[in-house]
Every structure is written in structure tokens, then in C-alpha cells.
Amino acid sequence: MNKLTIYIDDKQFQAEPGKSILEVCREHDIEILTMCHLKGVNDVGACRLCLVEIEGMSKLLSACTTKITANMVIHTKTERIKKYQRITTELFFAERNHVCAVCVANGTCELQDLGYKVGMDHIRYPFLFPKCEVDTSHPWYVMDQNRCIMCTRCVRVCNEVEGAHNWDVKNRGYQVRIISDFDTPWGESITCTSCGKCLQACPTGALWPKAIVQGQMKKNPEIIDELMERRKMIL
């Protein structure tokens, strides 16, 4: 297959057509921050962290959903993008009630890592402190809306990988919430198979197994992609 020539941060690369900018960057160890992207499920371009500047385009485009084209000139680390990544990170923290010190995912949390990566020393925006529910009705797992960042990775994993479609989204705007079935308690869900993939997919401590405490969460989000690759081999 003919490879395409693209330029990322003033370096030339060859890549197969049909790949997204993010895939090419990851192959060549060019860091692109992401939150809603999860290898193995479809991309939605919702977190806006992976925005890149493309010459000839007036808009910033999300690297995860934009396919490469021949002679594309991409900039991933301009001052403007760095500034926006910082604001995005701050808004993630200000949106819900993220308290690392009491969180099960402390140390394995992607949001926490993101804060370090963008050098966030404080948050300039007032916290919204929304009132959020904690759903403990499932016998094994807990869903804590306070720690949810609405990346919808759990929704996509449940739908695309497990095929159960237990998770979905309700409401709109800043009042969106992840729901189980038609907004029933998780424990009463008739679609949930208790497979636990959503726990692995979740970037924060919003989904976690019962009987663990602060900082004990073990995460392996790559398992989703491994699973999908193995399925391809069987087929």
C-alpha cells in the first residue's frame, strides 16, 4: 500500500492511509494528551484534549477522529494548544468533585496524570460542586458520579465490546450523567453482565470494585484492545 507523507512538528513521517493522526503520533512516540480515547473502541472526539493545528485549516481538529491526508502539516505543541490543554484540564477538575486523597484510583488515575503533565498547580475557575449520586446497588461494583468526567469510555466498551449496552447518558449540558439501563440502580439492571470491562475502561475512580480502599485500584485499560485483537484472530 502506498504510504502517505505527513509532517508532524516539523518532522517528516510515512504512514498508511486510513490512519488517524493520533495513531500515527502514538506509533512515533509523539505525545498527544487524550482522555476520551480508548484503544479498542470507536473515538468520539469529546474531551478536546487531542486537538492539533493543521496548516490550511482554520479550526483545530481532534487527532483521534481526523484521518491523515497526503502532505498534511500538523502541529501538536503550539503555545495555543498548550494553553487550551491547561484550561481543559482545569475545567475537568472544576466540573465534578475530584478529591484524590480519598479516591480509590489515586496513583492510577489518568486525570491525575493529566494534571501533572500539563503542570496544573492550581485551578483558576470556581468549582461547580454539583450534587452527585453514588450508586452502590451492584453486588460487586460501585459507580461514583462525583469522579466521572463524561468521557463515555464505559458506555462505548459496554456497547461495542461486551454488547450489553448497560451504560448510557441522560440529560444534557453540565447536567449530563451516566445511567444504567433506563436510569435504574445498577444492581437492578437487566442488561449488565457484571463483566467488569467498564471498570478497566474508566480513566478515573468513577467505577471501582467494592472492598478496596483509597489508592488500591489496579487498572489495565489496554485489556480492551487486547481483547479486540484476539477476537480478530479468531474471526
Binding site: 468520539v44 472544576a94 444534557r172
Partner: protein, 561 residues
């Protein structure tokens, strides 16, 4: 039905009109605006009055679509002379029938604008409100009964479809539309011909045409009036588009808040199917096309094309990143053409009169006419259609009759929550896509709200921001959280609790949300804020707590300093 049958029907219908057994024809506006001020009772009462007087065989009464000056409703029009009566109520119908039909002279003090003009015009077309307008999209609105296809056929209805199917190839149609320089009337102003050509070029066994009737801007009602007043015109435009791009199926996405528009459009579809103007083998041409209505459930974001497609597919109405554009990957993954109601309504006049004729109207870069929903602090508000390039001054002072109560013009808000404002200093701006963009506003779908000196621009920005915050779908972070943060900051400024730091933060957030949001809703949500900041920054500055005032701030008793 083939071409000849259609001609026969039209001839028969025209003959009926020419040998009219009726001597008089009265139209009563039955657009949603006039109905809400009681035009249905007026229609009923008028019918009774005519029957009691035994004039049944002389007077024909029809319900019509929107006539224009909506705030003067209910409106009644004596069609032969174009005499319009305003604010008609059941008590003065007897007098109108007596005077207009029997004595053959109008009642001066009930005529349109009689209460504000020194001398009202008997022929409403002479009135400055109508004289400065050029009606192409709205041409037959207010003249025909929108629930009768025969009325539309008499007014050259489906002639453009007939012409395209029998005389033109799809390439010809696209060339004609390109030549007309028509631009999408939904707001962004993308050249319609180019869009059609793009969809035409994608080869696929199935393509779709979608009519976007999810008009959600506060204060805008252009699409509603077109759908209510002349639904067949939109249907005809969709069928022509289907022929041009090679689609066999169309969807009309109309918001659920427009029950009358939905009802009339569905009636129109049924009638067109019955006449063979929709369905298989239309007019004996081997072209098949059918249209279905999809009802929106009240989300503003579903006016965004990718969210609209998701909604038609039965999914949650949230946008997705583009590219791929719907022209390539649209409804159910097929190439899809999405145009606004007004765009489709502009198609048949272009086909009949030619692209050349259309391109000569308006300005070099924006051809044709634009329908505006004129509202706010002006004397005559309602639905107007003017050539592109008409100055704002003409719209406000000639058509709109000047400011209400002799107030002072302060600003005009265009494009609703995605647009901006035009201050008094730019009253002479020629209204077209480029001129408005240069002023930091947008054409938008056509909402035009006029404000006087009593309007508080910070509050205007806060109102639109609150609207966008409520209507954000919540998918992408900048729009979901950014609009909430901006709304809170604007509220803080409105309450005189903010400082310069808050204003700086607000501006930074506004540009951030504009540049990073996933779809057009977030991308344009900061526009009213940025535009009011550009033209009325002093109103923001005056509200801020200045450093030397910090000792005067009253600290609530429950807060310890």
C-alpha cells in the same frame, strides 16, 4: 400521473379560478402567530356572517399562511384589492363585511397600521412595510390555502419539478443552482450548488435528502412560517434536490414545538403522493422520491447537521466531529444532503426563472433574498423578506416603522444565540453574509431582534449564554463546562460582584470555547458575549468592582473575613 395529467389538472383548476363563481375572496391569516391571537374564531365568525347574509355564493373565504406584520394580528385580507385589516376581532366582522363586500369601500380605521400611520393604505402593497420587500420565498404565503395542493398548482406549483424532470439532467440542475449563487439559508451560508455537486459526485446505491426544520433560535420563526404558509414549495424543492443528487428518499426534520407546521407538511405530503408528485415514477420520468417527517424532541443542538442525523437514526441527538461531512458519510452512513427549509423554498423560483435572474438580486457575494423574523422594540414586527444588501436602517425605519415609543436605536441582535449585535454606529451596514461577519456577528438563520436604550447588553449576553448552557448536549467538555462557567461569570458581572480578573478570565474562556468545541453550538455560543464586548465594553467595565472600591464591598454576615 404523467406530465400531461398534471397540465390537465392545472388547466382545469385555472379555468375554475378564471370563471370564478365567487365575486369576492377573503383570506384570513392562519399562521401560528395569528391563530394565537384568535384568527380561527375570526374565520368561523366570518363564515357565519357571510352565511347569515346569504352571500355564500359570492364570497369565498380561505385560511392562508403568514401575511407578514405578525404583531398586528389577527389579519384579514380582501384578496382582489390587497386590502388588509388588522387586529380583527369577532365584533367588527359584521362591519367589515357590510362595508367591504356590500358598500365596496374599506373601513379606514381598521386598515393595516391605521393606528400608527397618518393615512393607511387601501392597497397594502403600497405601504412601506411591503413596498421595501421583495418576496421570493414568501411569495405565495398569505395568498393561498396551504392545505390545498390545487391552490399551489394554480400559483405555478410543481412547475419547477416538472421542468427539471422533463427537460433537465441532474448536472443541469446543479449548474443552474450554482449559477444562481444561492447560499445555504441555515446560517453558515455555504454555497448550495457546491454542496449539491459534492453529494452528487459520491457514488452510492442510496442517498438521502434532509430538510432541516429544527429552527431553535429564540425569536426566529422564518422556517415555521414557510412550512405553515407554503409547505408544497419546500416539498418541491426537496424533490428537485433528490433528482439532482440521485436520492430517492427525503426526511423533513421539524421541531416538535411546531405542531401546525408538522400537520400542514404532513397534509402536503399526503396530497402530493395522491397526485403522484411524490412516490414512484413521478410525472412519468422514472424518478422516484418520497418524503417522511421526523419530529424533533426539543433539543436546539439537533439543528446541527450531524446531531440531526443521529436524531433521525433514533440515537441520542449529539453531534460528531467532522470530517467526514454528511455529504460523504451521512444518514446511516450514506451520502446525505442537508439544507434548511428556506433554502429548499428558494429552489423552485430559481429553476423557473433561471439562475441568472436570481444571481442578479442582492450583493455580488450574497445573491437573492433573505427572510428575517423582525422582533423587538420596533413598531411593526413580523416576517419580512428583503434582497441581500438591504441596509439595517431601511429594515428598522422603513419596514419596521421605527422604534417603539420613539425610543433610540441601540443595537440589533442577529443570528440569535450564535450571532452578535450591530450597534447604532453601523446602522447603514448592507445586510449580507460578509458584512455581518466583519462586524463580529453572523447572518444566522434570520432572527433579527431590535433593541433600544433600555436594553442592558451584559444581560443580553447573559441571556444567550444561559440559553446555550441549557442547550449544550454535554458531549464535549469546552461547551459543557465552559458555557456554565461563562454563564456564572456573566451573572457575577450582572450582579456587580465581578472584578477585572473575572472579565479577563471570561474573555479567555470565550475564545477557548469558540476554538475548541466539537460542533457549531459551542463554537458560536461565545459570539453574543464577544460581540457585545467588542461594541459595548464600557457597559461591562462600569459594572466591575474597581480596586479603590474594595473597602466598600459589603460582606455578607455569614462569611468571616
Amino acid at each position: 400521473m404523467n406530465r400531461q395529467d398534471l397540465k390537465t389538472i392545472i388547466y382545469a383548476e385555472k379555468a375554475k379560478v378564471e370563471n370564478n363563481k365567487y365575486k369576492h375572496k377573503i383570506g384570513v391569516c392562519c399562521g401560528a402567530g395569528c391563530i394565537s391571537s384568535g384568527s380561527e374564531e375570526v374565520l368561523k365568525k366570518l363564515q357565519e356572517e357571510v352565511t347569515t347574509r346569504g352571500l355564500d355564493h359570492d364570497v369565498e373565504i380561505i385560511p392562508t399562511g403568514c401575511m407578514g406584520p405578525c404583531n398586528q394580528g389577527p389579519l384579514m385580507k380582501y384578496l382582489p384589492d390587497h386590502t388588509i385589516y388588522q387586529k380583527v376581532d369577532c365584533s367588527n366582522i359584521a362591519a367589515i363585511v357590510q362595508s367591504q363586500i356590500i358598500d365596496k369601500k374599506p373601513i379606514e380605521h381598521l386598515l393595516l397600521f391605521a393606528d400608527t400611520r397618518e393615512k393607511p393604505f387601501r392597497d397594502a402593497r403600497e405601504d412601506p412595510f411591503f413596498k421595501s420587500q421583495l418576496k421570493i420565498v414568501l411569495r405565495n404565503c398569505g395568498q393561498l390555502n396551504p392545505e390545498r395542493i390545487e391552490d399551489f398548482l394554480v400559483h405555478d406549483g410543481y412547475q419547477a419539478l416538472d421542468k427539471t424532470l422533463c427537460e433537465m439532467s441532474p448536472e443541469d440542475v446543479i449548474a443552474e443552482i450554482k449559477h444562481s449563487r444561492l447560499r445555504g439559508r441555515g446560517g453558515a451560508g455555504y454555497p448550495t450548488g457546491l454542496k449539491w455537486e459534492t453529494v452528487y459526485k459520491y457514488v452510492n446505491d442510496q442517498k438521502y435528502v434532509i430538510c432541516n426544520g429544527d429552527e431553535g433560535d429564540p425569536g426566529a420563526f422564518m422556517d415555521r412560517s414557510v412550512l405553515e404558509g407554503n409547505p408544497h414549495r419546500v416539498l418541491e424543492g426537496m424533490a428537485i434536490a433528490g433528482y439532482a443528487i440521485g436520492a430517492t428518499k427525503g426526511y423533513a426534520y421539524i421541531r416538535g414545538e411546531y405542531p401546525l407546521a408538522i400537520k400542514r407538511f404532513e397534509t402536503a405530503i399526503k396530497q402530493a403522493r395522491k397526485m403522484g408528485l411524490l412516490g414512484t415514477d413521478i410525472l412519468g420520468s422514472n424518478f422516484s422520491f418520497d418524503v417522511e417527517v421526523r419530529i424533533g424532541a426539543g433539543a436546539f443542538v439537533c439543528g446541527e447537521e450531524t446531531a440531526l442525523i443521529a436524531s433521525i437514526e433514533g440515537k441520542r441527538g449529539t453531534p460528531r466531529p467532522r470530517p467526514p461531512f454528511p455529504a460523504e458519510f451521512g444518514l446511516w452512513g450514506k451520502p446525505t444532503l442537508i439544507n434548511n427549509v428556506e433554502t429548499f423554498a428558494s429552489i423552485s423560483p430559481i429553476i423557473i426563472n433561471g439562475g441568472e435572474w436570481y444571481s442578479e438580486i442582492g450583493t455580488p457575494k450574497s445573491a437573492g433574498t433573505k427572510v428575517f423574523a423582525l422582533a423587538g422594540k420596533i413598531n411593526y414586527s413580523g416576517l419580512i423578506e428583503v434582497p441581500m444588501g438591504t441596509s439595517l436602517r431601511e429594515i428598522v425605519f422603513d419596514i419596521g416603522g421605527g422604534m417603539q415609543g420613539g425610543g433610540e436605536f441601540k443595537a440589533a441582535q442577529t443570528g440569535g444565540p450564535s450571532g452578535g449585535c450591530i450597534p447604532a454606529g453601523h446602522l447603514d451596514v448592507k445586510m449580507d453574509y460578509e458584512a455581518l461577519t466583519n462586524l463580529g456577528s453572523i447572518m444566522g438563520s434570520g432572527g433579527l431582534i431590535i433593541m433600544d436604550q433600555t436594553s442592558d447588553m451584559v444581560d443580553v449576553a447573559r441571556f444567550f449564554m444561559e440559553f446555550c448552557m441549557d442547550e449544550s448536549c454535554g458531549k464535549c467538555l469546552p461547551c459543557r463546562v465552559g458555557t456554565k462557567m461563562m454563564c456564572d461569570l456573566l451573572q457575577k458581572i450582572c450582579d456587580n460582584r465581578a472584578t477585572q480578573i473575572d472579565l479577563d478570565r471570561l474573555e479567555e474562556l470565550a475564545i477557548y470555547v469558540k476554538e475548541t468545541s466539537l460542533c457549531g453550538l459551542g463554537g458560536s455560543a461565545p459570539n453574543p458575549l464577544l460581540s457585545t464586548l467588542r461594541h459595548f465594553r464600557n457597559e461591562y467595565q462600569n459594572r466591575l468592582i474597581r480596586h479603590e472600591q474594595k473597602d466598600q464591598i459589603e460582606v455578607p454576615s455569614n462569611i468571616q473575613v
